[in-house]
Point group: none
Chain length 403, copies 2
């Protein structure tokens, strides 16, 4: 079986170049008022503007036109993995988001604490979105559950959401959801979708029955719903596909988890943008590729705080300036999706991107902004997955295709 990255893997060649990819999470925006400027267009970004003038720019589509990406697919796209080809079960994504290192053979699922009435019918699939502290208390209760021959891990995600991981031999992710996705019905029994999943379905049933008993007297939530059973994806690793020794620098568990799923080395936790810069500087000799994640551009957008997002972009511009001073061979700056403050959420709008390298063919764009990027040589709706091959090409890391 070939996969979409096969032809690239065959072309990669090592060299001494350094590639830095800076992901300004949720970078893209829209104006607050018709005719206004976006957050990026408003921000003073001298370093990014210089890179845009010397390099090539454009707007990428992380998944497909019109599709608003979650954090997982958004990052997969810019890291070169088409999110529609490299899908990931909800359980595995939840594990990645918790920086829980799934082992081959593990089965993970997303759990909800919920409420059921005396007949066992679901009354609230989210148990009134119980607070995270209460979730932690309930998880400690569930952690008592024992299943013969299988290790059980239960961990709080947030509010009503938790992560379940089963570890043991002979497990399979081929088990149906117990979450009925509606109320006034019973949770569904877990069913194997193929014979190899019988044992796992039994374990899940045991877990659910035990949870029901242990939570029976709780007032906040008295049952659990499970969905998205998934194992660790068996994807080709980033290093294998692109021929680079790669380091990830991020502060949040989700991004650290995605990097780990791709086989990147995840460096010490970066709590500030200054931490991230120091981590790149100190590790520059040891790696070919750095994925540097900046969260503030997204969280300010999600808060609907246009001005704070502008400031976050201006701070990121200083960081980009510091990274450029380290003389990488290729510097890519983009986002994993747009998060317009006006929408207070991720959106489908294409994402500004710039690629700087000595051998870029200039495109006449002299500023880094949504409108300016429309005229850039990368194109105004290019697939995010093009970024990695282009970065490798500009780093001299791809052999000629065919003679």
């Amino acid at each position: 079986m070939t996969h979409p990255l096969e032809y690239l893997r065959d072309l990669c060649r090592p060299n001494a170049s350094k590639i830095v990819l800076v992901v300004l999470d949720g970078l893209g925006g829209i104006p607050l008022v018709p005719g206004g400027l976006t957050e990026l267009e408003t921000a003073a970004t001298p370093a990014l503007d210089t890179l845009a003038a010397e390099g090539i720019t454009g707007l990428h589509v992380p998944v497909r036109p019109g599709i608003t990406p979650g954090s997982g697919p958004g990052h997969l796209g810019i890291l070169g993995y088409d999110p529609l080809a490299f899908t990931i079960g909800r359980g595995a994504l939840a594990a990645a988001g918790m920086a829980c290192d799934l082992q081959p053979g593990d089965v993970a699922a997303r759990g909800n604490f919920c409420t059921v009435d005396e007949d066992g019918l679901v009354t609230d699939r989210r148990a009134g979105r119980i607070d995270t502290g209460e979730n932690k208390r309930l998880c400690r209760i569930l952690q008592q559950i024992e299943i013969d021959g299988v290790d059980v891990f239960v961990d709080t995600i947030k509010e009503h959401r938790f992560l379940l991981v089963l570890r043991g031999s002979g497990l399979s992710a081929g088990v149906t959801d117990t979450d009925p996705q509606t109320t006034q019905v019973e949770p569904r029994p877990p069913k194997p979708v193929h014979p190899e999943a019988h044992k796992t379905a039994d374990c899940v049933l045991r877990f659910v029955e035990s949870a029901q008993k242990l939570l029976a007297e709780e007032s906040s939530a008295n049952m659990v719903l499970l969905r998205g059973f998934a194992g660790r994806p068996t994807w080709p690793s980033f290093g294998d596909v692109f021929g680079v020794h790669s380091a990830a620098i991020a502060g949040y568990p989700m991004y650290r988890g995605i990097a780990r799923l791709l086989g990147m080395e995840v460096l010490a936790q970066a709590n500030t943008i200054e931490d991230s810069i120091s981590l790149v500087r100190n590790n520059l000799p040891g790696f070919d590729f750095f994925f540097v994640h900046v969260k503030a551009t997204d969280s300010t957008g999600e808060d609907g705080d246009f001005e704070a997002k502008v400031r976050a972009i201006e701070k990121a511009d200083e960081a980009v300036s510091a990274l450029r001073a380290m003389n990488p061979d290729v510097l890519v700056v983009t986002g994993d999706h747009s998060t317009p403050a006006r929408l207070r959420a991720h959106s489908w709008h294409p994402v500004p991107a710039l690629l700087w390298a000595p051998h870029c063919r200039p495109d006449g764009v002299t500023a880094f902004g949504e409108r300016a990027c429309l005229a850039g040589a990368l194109g105004l709706r290019f697939p995010a997955t093009d970024l990695m091959p282009l970065a490798l090409a500009h780093a001299g890391r791809l052999n000629k295709f065919g003679a």
Copy 2:
């Protein structure tokens, strides 16, 4: 089995139109200094600028974004064959490059003259890149090899490289390389990858053993390594897919070979651009489609000679003017890849393209250059394989799709 060109074949209709495709090999470039002009932007190209003003322009991607094409894939793309879908084994490509007409059933391989030590371990996979004259002498020695029921052809490519062709009934290309791709190990024995290849693997073993004996006392190279066993590709012909009677005009064996692989009629060898113009003029009544190859734009780029490439483009501009004067219905001018003089090599940069025809919808571009083409109606990173359908459409050679 359908192939990617099937839908087009069904739409083609004949008419009296003439299409001329001029391939300026390695056309695209980059500036020598930041903010400078490319070779094409520097050149005075009145004919191309006029065609750009009257026609449509853009920049094509020959294979995939970031991929630097070899001559084979680069030409396949602009001739409408996706180079990732229509792959060609190294042996068959080497044969095409030698203008060796592989027959159906032939098996070809790329050979290296190499050196082995007294234990038979490879010491130099390229025998110190022996000169081409020495290669010819050694090939004459190998040409003595006889294998029952199979014709053996050995021909010099260049330096240490040669072409082996086996011709006979019941042959198969399913044989593994004997080239171990490293030194200090023995050459690998040729193995069949499926039962139908047993006979061929035996023949190859016989060839290798005979070569070892015949070369044993030679000082320059005393062994051979073989790789890329391949038969003639069984592709749909250019004429069959696009419904045109096509002629190829080229001076170099590689391009003549590719044209022959696609079933084009290869006209007399064109040693100069004036030869090429005459060949088009003299053959205009007999063909619907002309593929005219110009080499100088690439070789000057490979030499790193910016000024010479500018002059080669200016000379090509005069040729285009002469071709235009022959009143073709559609005139396409592009390259098979970029060869920036600054890089002295093929590159991944998108390639300027123009399509002129009476029914083009004008796009406002008035010059033929990399930056100007960014604004053209063909798009700034369009797949090279779009050129052929667009040329046919503008020639009135495609039926409506659907009722």
